[in-house]
Amino acid sequence: MSVVFERSKGLADVKTHYCPGCSHGIVHRILAESLEEMGLLDEAICMSPVGCAVLALDYFEFDGIQAAHGRAPATATGVKRVHPDKTVITYQGDGDLASIGMCEIIHAAARGEKITTIFINNGIYGMTGGQMAPTTLPGMKATTAQLGRDVSLNGYPIRVAELISTLDGAKYVERVAVCSPAEVNKAKAAIKKALEVQKAGLGFSFVEVLCACPTNWGKTPVDALEFVKNEMIPYYPLGVKKDTTKEGQ
Amino acid sequence: MSKIDRIFCAGFGGQGVMSMGQLLAYAAMLEEKEVTWCPSYGPEMRGGEANCSVTISDERIGSPLINNDATVGVFMNGAAYTKFKNKVEAGGKIFMNSDLIDDDNPRTDVTYYKIPVNSIATRLGKIQLANMVMLGAVNDQAHLVNQDMLLEAFKKVFGAAKEKYIPINKEALAEGAKAAQEMFRK
């Protein structure tokens, strides 16, 4: 019997604490596979954020550290400056990156830190219980926006990939989604591309991943994927926002 | 108690007040004395004023701050003199740039040294030498360090690139010393 699928060597053989239908598992897998396929597992160092992925370091079979809330890009800067030859990744959610950590992500990108950020955008705070995130869609319900996000009171969601792409230090920026097998494949390709940009020493690379959070959205896993497809993607258009590797060709 | 000198230098920014103090401190260090140099602190830092305190001692220095116990006061302009002349203790020495400072009501409990350092520096060809002229006068009369040690300090503080200025600075120190000595001959 031939093996058609096995766990990436970049993933630990442990149960995760993620809820059924959560997209974190998929993104963990494609990140681990990307590193494995690129031969980078032995030199990878990942910042776990505060949020649902705080335990990600236990699920990866490469180095990890738990960063303070929003500060993963700063901590990654410290690691990368000490080890410029290693592959340094931050894995951050939307509350972590786009709310409390907006300052750190913007400046790490502006400095052109040679790190790769995987940004999990599911439009909600997961770990603390479904509060409104900077990326919560207009009208979308949250425990701190019980009637749905009212933009006249709560302001507007932030399109982070577009924002990052305006910075000269950011060399590769793409938004992907993990709502279907085809999109998952594209997401993995984007992560690989971002890691290549880091390995080439070009500068900061960033992949925003639209993800599902069925538990805090109050949806079934299948409905949650439909929500990503039908509600999130229209607000957060997929695609490459910036690719400086193509410049000059 | 062992010998301790507390020199308070004050003037306008750009008059070389801080470097005057640093040269003195450096020279004292080269003579293996204990020394501290403190820049201006407190509200007196404002308004383009510059001042520093140098303490030179044979023993470990406690307070590096000068309040009203300076043994030597060096004043490069009128504003600094008016503001700080009482920092010098009774029996101390006050050196003033007599080109810029005039006092109708001087203190009677200190010795004054009125040195026209601007005029002397101008005669030497460079107004920027005024602080060195003053330093020459101060060091000659207050017996702080060996005069040659100030030139050694000059090399250390300003580096090899400025060594070509040593002869003119040496002359400035000597002229300052001479002016101070002449004051008493008159």
Partner: protein, 350 residues
């Protein structure tokens, strides 16, 4: 090495580089700006890195990363900046990473002022971050001691896996004194096998800050405090001045202690039996230094409203034995004021 005349802030940089510090992360704040400025010039020359963080918050988290990566690294700031760093200070303390912070204190609270002060005794010695933790706090009294302590701080940090704070003030940072770089005493330092380097064919390195199970976190804290007990036993340090027959002992550290030292000389010349106990470490606090049989009163002199009093009281066991004098907000004390205060306390006792 021959002595050189150095400003305290520049001396910090020389000492740190001598100690093998190759990484500095910091944000501008008066009165310590010469430190980042000088580092930005020197570190690229030795293959290290200087990063001007976007804030103190970012800077301390960069330090967290660099320390986790196994490097000798530091940051510096002044009081309001150290307040902003408290989050990262807690993380570094929890992760037991070796790192060094220099704090050139200024007047507070809030934005406060920019003049020299000792306003952060509580924040740095008692802890300004959340949770049960300690940092080692060294209190230099002059520029030479600042140099010695900065060098030693890196070794102490590595020996114990601790964050070491060199707690000086704006005056020590700005003043110049002759200094020489000397080798600190040898300390047992283990290789950093835990450092983030990538697995390199071995097991992944994981540096944690979260413990979800309360009993696990409690056990971590108990273990942490076992380590602290060793440090309290080994590292508390102080200096006596004229204490042999002193009946009144000043308690003072840093810049304040220098003014007090001169006051002791003056009072001794007048026949008063006074001395000075100068803590050189504030945590661990040298409690045994304030348990003198001959001493009638401890005269606590600080550049704040009396933040060390509690520790002196714990040490001598009687808060009525302590009198306090100080200035706050950046106002410096004078020798005459200290003498006057002491004479008032002593009455006619000579």
């Amino acid at each position: 090495m021959a002595k050189v005349l150095l400003k305290g802030n520049e001396a910090v940089v020389r000492a740190a580089i001598e100690a093998g510090c190759k990484y500095f992360f910091g944000y501008p704040i008066t009165p310590q700006n010469e430190i980042p400025e000088y580092f930005s010039k020197e570190l690229p020359k030795i293959g290290g890195a200087f990063v001007q963080g976007e804030s103190e918050v970012a800077s301390i988290n960069m330090l967290y990363g660099a320390a986790a990566a196994g490097a000798r690294a530091m940051t510096s700031s002044s009081s309001p900046g150290i307040a902003l760093m408290q989050e990262g200070i807690g993380y570094i303390s929890k992760a037991e990473l070796p790192a060094v912070i220099v704090n050139m204190m200024r007047g507070g609270p809030g934005l406060g002022g920019i003049q020299p002060s000792q306003s952060d005794y509580h924040m740095c010695v008692k802890g300004g971050s959340n949770g049960d933790y300690h940092n080692i706090v060294l209190a230099p009294g002059n520029v030479q001691e600042l140099v010695d302590m900065v060098q030693e701080a890196f070794d102490i940090a590595d020996q114990y896996g601790m964050l070491v704070i060199v707690l000086a003030d704006g005056l020590i940072g700005q003043m110049m004194e002759p200094v020489e770089l000397r080798k600190p005493k040898e300390r047992p330092i283990q290789p950093k096998t835990w450092a983030l380097t990538g697995p390199n064919g071995g097991k992944p390195h994981r540096i944690y800050n979260l413990k979800l199970q309360a009993p696990d976190l409690e056990q971590d804290n108990i273990d942490l405090f076992k380590k602290y007990a060793v440090i309290e036993k080994n590292e508390a340090r102080y200096e006596d001045y004229m204490m042999e027959d002193a009946e009144y002992a000043f308690a003072s550290y840093g810049t304040a202690s220098r003014v007090v030292r001169t006051a002791v000389d003056k009072l001794r010349a007048e026949g008063y039996k006074v001395g000075l106990v100068r803590p050189q470490t504030l945590w661990p606090f040298p409690y045994e230094a304030f348990q003198r049989k001959n001493v009638k009163k401890y005269l606590d002199v600080e550049l704040n409203m009396g933040q060390m009093i509690d520790d002196v009281a714990i040490a001598c066991g009687d808060k009525n034995m302590i009198e306090f004098f100080g200035h706050t907000g950046g106002v410096l004390i004078t020798v005459d004021e200290v003498c006057e205060f002491a004479k008032k306390v002593m009455g006619g006792a000579k």
